[in-house]
């Protein structure tokens, strides 16, 4: 089997949710001395991109996306130890969470999964996250982007508080701010001074890549 065929099969098997097959194929890439970097960027990640596309087109839904992301991670586990670090671009670093007062995290988790699947480094603070924590963590890991999510109108204003605090400390420009969740709109994002609002997870990944010139 040549490189092109095997990478194509990885992409297709990932989309088809065939975990064992993807693992097997990834092992094969190692035997064939295909660089791990290529397996990731030409096999696993494009496979997951196809999953995002199917999700946006409402062919796939949350259960399918979640299973595909598990398949991707199973593949990554095989090839990642063999990755030549210098070949990889520095990943986009993201700090994200559901703002304080809210525990709804399905949407946020989906964004995390899709961001990780596209190669970003995600620091997930979880749910019901104290506002200050977003800033502390972003400073600590030297993040590029802070992502905040909420499903409740009561907690929306917390997002503005985070942005205001960043401005007060003159560090607002160090980060791009992404906001999302049920009650959030472009209008709200503009009003609080966020850089980016997207209506779903796969759009979030695409737009974040665009903002950082990785599209």
């Amino acid at each position: 089997m040549n490189k092109e065929t095997i990478l194509k099969e990885i992409r297709e098997s990932l989309v088809e949710m065939e975990e064992e097959k993807v693992v097997e194929l990834c092992e094969k890439t190692l035997e064939l001395n295909i660089p791990a970097y290529e397996t990731i960027t030409e096999g696993l990640i494009p496979g997951m991109d196809e999953v995002s596309r199917l999700y946006e087109e409402e062919e796939y839904f949350l259960p399918e996306v979640l299973v595909c992301s598990d398949v991707m991670n199973a593949g990554l586990d095989i090839v990642k130890p063999h990755l030549d670090k210098s070949s990889m671009q520095e990943p986009i670093k993201v700090v994200m969470g559901v703002v304080e007062g809210d525990t709804h995290d399905i949407g946020k988790n989906l964004v995390r999964i899709m961001m990780e699947a596209s190669g970003m480094e995600v620091h997930d603070l979880g749910r019901d996250v104290p506002l200050e924590r977003f800033i502390e963590k972003a400073e600590e890991v030297n993040a590029d982007l802070i992502g905040m999510s909420t499903l409740m109108t009561t907690t929306m204003d917390g997002m503005k508080t985070v942005i205001d605090r960043l401005s007060e400390r003159n560090i607002r420009n160090k980060y791009k701010i992404l906001v999302g969740g049920g009650p959030i709109s472009q209008n709200f994002a503009d009003r609080i001074g966020a850089d980016l609002y997207t209506k779903d997870a796969s759009e979030a990944v695409r737009r974040v890549k665009e903002i950082f010139g990785r599209a």
Binding site: F61, P63, T103, I106, M152, T153
Partner: protein
């Protein structure tokens, strides 16, 4: 003309009006309700004179249900005020909330589905807040004001007990196992609904916010949600009690399948175009005043959106989704009073 309308209006009690509408009979104007459960109006301002936690204490729960109607003008009593009542006895850790924040799951039960099915027996009457809610229905029962017993759908309860992402993956990876889990939850939820009816509930409302077309997709919705709703509704109908079901999110892809459930009324989120829904549905339609608008909007805008709802032919006017507890009484009254003034 005005006196005749007034005359006609006063003939119907709130209970008669709502039950007639649910049967498809003509009435003077649509009822305006907030069923309770996920979609409740026990906002902070309504609770200010209630001392104990209305989510746990029987008297406080009853008083809160009455306060909602008296203070906001919604034409029903409805309990409970959150959607963790059914998941609590199955090992999920719940923060029981207060006057500012609703009860919510803080930790999932991380045991396996088999373990949970084997080791937990749920008898609704003896199960903490299910029991309290049943008693509250008993106390609220009366001749004039409809009492709505609220239940959380099996998919939302399942995803409050175990990690939602795990549960959703199981729809693909082990559909039979997750189906058994849904069945287990469904069975005791059904007993709970029946107990509420025996206690005097006039109507049962089901909310299942995790079971949306957007999250599950239409195929999964038809496979994992619809059969249980059908069975639940058929059981409730044996007692001649009508059922309202609330569907979150964009429901366009699943509207058709709702017609087959036997439900009496469907409630939709604000993003659903009610004229479109009306054209598709054979049941009664409830909704869908935007809850964000109710929270932060101006009175005039609330009135015009309420009018818009009525013009698009909803049979029952209600908020479109769960209300923020910070919603003002003034805004809720803008909505209820507009409906009561008539078109």
């Amino acid at each position: 003309m005005v006196p005749t309308i007034m005359q006609k209006r006063s003939n119907l009690t709130e209970k008669e009006r709502l039950l007639k509408v649910l049967k498809g009979e003509a009435v003077d104007r649509p009822p305006v309700i907030c069923p309770g459960g996920m979609m409740n109006a026990s906002v902070t301002e309504v609770l200010k004179d209630i001392e104990e936690n209305h989510n746990i204490d029987l008297d406080a729960m009853t008083a809160a249900a009455k306060a909602v109607r008296e203070i906001t003008g919604f034409e029903n009593y409805g309990v409970p005020f959150d959607m963790t009542v059914e998941s609590e006895p199955l090992g999920a850790k719940i923060d029981l909330g207060d006057k500012f924040i609703e009860p919510r799951v803080t930790e999932y039960n991380n045991k396996s589905i088999e373990d949970i099915i084997q080791n937990y027996k749920v008898n609704p009457r003896d199960s903490h807040r299910m029991g309290i809610t049943i008693q509250a229905v008993e106390k609220l029962k009366n001749d004039e004001i409809p009492v709505i017993g609220n239940i959380t759908g099996h998919i939302s309860t399942a995803t409050s007990i175990i990690d939602p992402l795990y549960a959703l993956k199981m729809l693909r990876k082990d559909p039979d196992k997750i189906y058994r889990f849904f069945q287990f939850i469904h069975d005791y939820s059904k007993e709970y609904a029946v107990e509420m009816i025996r206690a005097g509930a006039d109507i049962i409302a089901i909310s299942d916010p995790t079971a949306t077309g957007e999250i599950l997709g239409a195929k999964n919705f038809e496979r994992f949600a619809i059969p249980f709703y059908k069975d639940m509704i058929a059981t409730i109908h044996q007692f001649h009690v009508p059922v309202i079901i609330h569907i979150c999110g964009n429901a366009n892809t699943i509207i058709d399948s709702l017609n087959d459930t036997g439900v009496d009324a469907v409630s939709f989120d604000s993003m659903v175009n009610m004229r479109f829904a009306k054209s598709k549905l054979t049941t009664r339609l409830m909704g869908n005043v935007n809850t964000q608008l109710l929270h932060t909007g101006e009175q005039g805008k609330i009135e015009s959106i309420t009018k818009n709802c009525m013009d698009s032919g909803v049979d029952i006017v209600s908020p479109a989704c769960g209300l923020s507890m910070a919603t003002s009484v003034k805004n809720l009254r803008a909505m209820t009073e507009f409906v009561k003034r008539g078109i």
